[in-house]
Symmetry: C2
Subunit: 415 residues, 2 copies
Amino acid sequence: MSTVLDICSRAAGVKYDVQKLTTDEKNEALTRAAERLIQRQEEILAANQKDIDNGIAGNMPEGLIDRLTLTGDRIEQIAEGLREVAALPDPVGQVMEEFTRPNGLKIRKVRVPMGVIGVIYESRPNVTADAFALCFKAGSAVILKGGSDAIHSNVAITQVLRDSLAECGITPDAVQLIAVTDRAATREFMTMRDYVDVLIPRGGAGLIRATVENSKIPVIETGTGNCHIYVDKDADIEKAIPIIINAKTQRIGVCNAAESLVVHSAVMEQFLPAFSEAMHSRGVELRADEASRAFLPYANEAAEEDYGREYLDLIMSVKTVDSAEEAIEHINRYHTGHSDSIITENRETAKKFLDQVDSACVYVNASTRFTDGFEFGFGAEIGISTQKLHARGPMGLTEITSYKYTIEGDGQIRG
Amino acid sequence: MSTVLDICSRAAGVKYDVQKLTTDEKNEALTRAAERLIQRQEEILAANQKDIDNGIAGNMPEGLIDRLTLTGDRIEQIAEGLREVAALPDPVGQVMEEFTRPNGLKIRKVRVPMGVIGVIYESRPNVTADAFALCFKAGSAVILKGGSDAIHSNVAITQVLRDSLAECGITPDAVQLIAVTDRAATREFMTMRDYVDVLIPRGGAGLIRATVENSKIPVIETGTGNCHIYVDKDADIEKAIPIIINAKTQRIGVCNAAESLVVHSAVMEQFLPAFSEAMHSRGVELRADEASRAFLPYANEAAEEDYGREYLDLIMSVKTVDSAEEAIEHINRYHTGHSDSIITENRETAKKFLDQVDSACVYVNASTRFTDGFEFGFGAEIGISTQKLHARGPMGLTEITSYKYTIEGDGQIRG
């Protein structure tokens, strides 16, 4: 039996045990794991140092080294994350609907765990504990496949999590790490449909695309965000500028950052100079169409493909339109269905934008940066879904559950 | 451009037009289509006759010929189906949740159309109109790929549907048929992820499996049902027999028919003789384990693989267990996650069964035959989902929609 098959069949073998855990049992295990992560930080930091050393030896870019690096403080944050998940309400067992049919059958739609959740992610060791906590609280066994650059850190963290479960009398196989770092293992993992109920890729566009293309397991596509801000002819310019600054520059490497400005030609003259100044002073390169460049002294020329790009960088494309309809059409053509915002004081135009822009999150007069499970009040987030099946937008605990129908009768047969 | 790509890109091109239709516009078009199907039945019946002639020439089994055959009455039923969908509430635009964040952002979770739905099905011409009606009412453009044996019938029906839409001023590309009958076209269709939001296969296990294995588009898996009835030690035998007769024999070729009996050893002696008689007199072959065969004079020996089979025939497997726990374990191992029922008067055992059997629909003291959109009161059904992602169990209009978040602010930026 291959390692991957062995791991997947173990997960499937324990999923009903995980499903049966009470809320208290799950919370106790999460709290215990938080405690142990802090107590055993030396061994985690030692493992992490190996990954860092390998990264430096392999000329890993500084930003990635930073993402990979753990410290006492960061481990404390990870532990705090587990405690926060423990404090969240348990979605399992919630009655979503309840009705009685004319024949007396009493039907309940009840929230239930997924079973086995697979999570594929890049070299962020914090995701190891985070993804475990969410899937476990949602009643599922979880199989983690982290980036190979973080392998020592992930092995160490997973060991602490497994030991904590065992201490609480819970099967450690509720969390397993595929500690094989070759691509063949990842490919094999994606074929395990008979054992894994859903696969969630977390990471960059390449990882997401590869998962979607190759997985036989149902996937929840997350993440890629080519987010737009449309400044309408009826925009309040005073609101527009701070929103764009926030959406573009507060954090540039995240999926809910804005990548493209769409502007109504009627407000170009009034709006673009201030926008240009705000972006230029923050080091944002603009790539703009011809019409807008007349008002953007520092802008470069936009190529067609600029409108489809998620830069994750201090770059923003600019497109001029002559109507809200044209803006909506442009956005629906080039966006990734993540988050788009209109700046307008016109309620009718706002309504049209909300109705017709086909994104997980559509905003009026607010920054796209709010697309986030915590900002939405979900208390947690496993990712932002950009697909239409199952879950769309920020995914908290509820979004990684399924449901079943229970039907209680008294001898009913179908006529 | 290939035919399939052309069809898919047209569907994607009109999806926002379909999405914008009002409930009245959709209902008017459905009613018009119902009318036209009846008025133009001669041309539909003539096309259907070609399919029947080809089927007979190709030695198609009688059951399949019957499934393929249309008559005036059957066209009337198809038309009535369209009218019923017109009468259902429109799920699009429903506000599912609404909340205001401390920063004043007003968040609404709103039901929206999927966009483009693909339906792959076998040689049942009625599905052509039926699948169109449901997807169209749910606000999506639909692409149909029916079985090649029904190609002439499907072309004729689709033409009437398209003409009816055009008469109502609606783009006929809201419904398109892939009228190419080779397998390569079906394979190509399954790769159209950039144009098609979800693919629903309707048909036998082979079709479902092929779709799941090959599709790059997210799939909702439907249909296969290896349904179990478990007669517990605390069963009321008087209830058990009619339920089993109903579940096994009322219609044998359907996914919610029972295929396997699981019986507690404590009630074998009391229950099995009556069960044996009921099955034998209805021509049901039993394939049973050794313990139960002592009480089943006509039974054959069950092979291990019998427990995993969806017979869709007058055959039933029989398995003896010594506890409800063993029954649950057996069912979770061999079922397809469709529908399973316990017969018991013990509330505690019933609760355990409802909680732990991992099926879309879990019953107490009722026939599995109730797993059906109409029986659940949904007013329609596009299939029974046996996967855990997105929708589980009977799928009506609501289950073929997605949602989005709309967020209304007044200049909020993230701190």
